[in-house]
């Protein structure tokens, strides 16, 4: 697998796995195996199953069922912005 293959072609999505490195700046635990509920349609899926759009300037994860935005992650210089309002909750194994 290589995210570079994605980089020079666009318009398609990756999956939640591809955001895990960036999200590790924020979360102590691995989020790919975490279950998250979409605030729009209520589907509960593993974060690894989310559809991920990595067109700059940030990362957008969408629900694999209804395609509503679950999470947005943008890094501006030394600051990271995380917007998770599209996710009702995230549950992780401890």
């Amino acid at each position: 697998m290589s995210s570079e293959i994605y980089d020079h072609l666009h318009g398609d999505y990756l999956d939640g796995n591809a955001a895990a490195g960036e999200l590790s700046k924020i979360f102590v635990m691995d989020v790919t195996a975490a279950a998250g509920q979409c605030a729009h349609c209520g589907a509960t899926k593993r974060f690894a199953e989310a559809h991920l759009y990595m067109q700059s300037p940030g990362v957008v994860a969408r629900c694999p069922v209804c395609e509503h935005v679950l999470l947005r992650l943008v890094t501006v210089r030394q600051r990271v912005f995380l917007d998770m309002r599209g996710m009702r909750y995230l549950s992780l194994d401890t």
Partner: protein, 244 residues
């Protein structure tokens, strides 16, 4: 998660456009088959680029990580990794990453692997992990590639499946086949899934990795043939242009 420095200890060409890179990381915490790493290259002027690559190697006590990288004509990172990188050079890595698309040696159920092109990498780590852990879990790999010359890990896959009856490898060619091959070149279809994958009543866990369009298609066919969507795990890396 911190950035770690790894030293290149071996390079091996898989095909004219793909190379396997083995790195040694003194403080590597260990990984699971199927996980990936982020690689960061930083230029002299401070500009840096990060790319994700799946780990090809099984977990090992030597703290080594093998990555296999396909060179993309207009890539920022892959031409450097596949052409310029030398033994002794250092790379920055962040990982291991991902806890969902993984195979653990404790898993005893039948495993179905489906790879499209360079999607073979994390699945190869699973096959290698099975061998190094002495697992007897039945494994089947269906590997879709453009043509015979585009197969990665060819000799090792043959050796592993010759040695162990519980590992089988089937190829599907999309552009050109070896001479006398029974199936004309083409994409994976329902007949191939029915003929080359575990019967759905075995409830095999399925791992599918490849370009997005390939993964969508293969996962859809697995599901349509009676496999439960709960047993199908996918990893996508976007379209390659020439569909596998």
């Amino acid at each position: 998660m911190i950035w770690r420095v790894g030293t290149v200890v071996a390079l091996r060409d898989e095909t004219p456009s793909a190379r396997s890179i083995t790195l040694e990381l003194p403080d590597w915490p260990g990984h699971l088959a199927g996980q990936h790493v982020d690689v960061r290259l930083t230029a002299a002027d401070g500009y840096s680029a990060v790319r994700s690559y799946s780990i090809a190697s099984a977990p090992n006590p030597e703290r080594r990580v093998e990555l296999s990288v396909e060179r993309l004509p207009n890539g920022e990172v892959s031409p450097y990794l596949t052409r310029e990188l030398k033994v002794g050079d250092q790379l920055e890595l962040r990982g291991p990453i991902g806890g969902w698309f993984v195979w653990r040696p404790q898993q005893t159920e039948s495993i179905q692997l489906i790879a499209g092109g360079s999607g073979i990498v994390p699945l190869m780590a699973m096959i290698r992990s099975r061998a190094s852990a002495g697992s007897s879990a039945p494994f089947r790999l269906l590997y879709s590639v453009r043509e015979p010359g585009a197969v990665w890990y060819r000799d090792e896959l043959r050796a592993l499946s010759d040695r162990d009856q519980s590992v089988s490898v089937a190829y599907a060619y999309t552009r050109a086949t070896p001479r006398g091959w029974p199936r004309p070149p083409g994409r994976i279809d329902a007949a191939l899934i029915a003929g080359m994958t575990w019967p759905p009543n075995l409830s095999a866990t399925c791992y599918v990795c490849g370009p997005t369009s390939f993964v969508e298609s293969a996962a859809g066919l697995l599901s349509a043939s009676g496999n439960s969507p709960d047993k199908i795990r996918t990893e996508r890396f976007g379209p390659t242009g020439d569909r596998q």
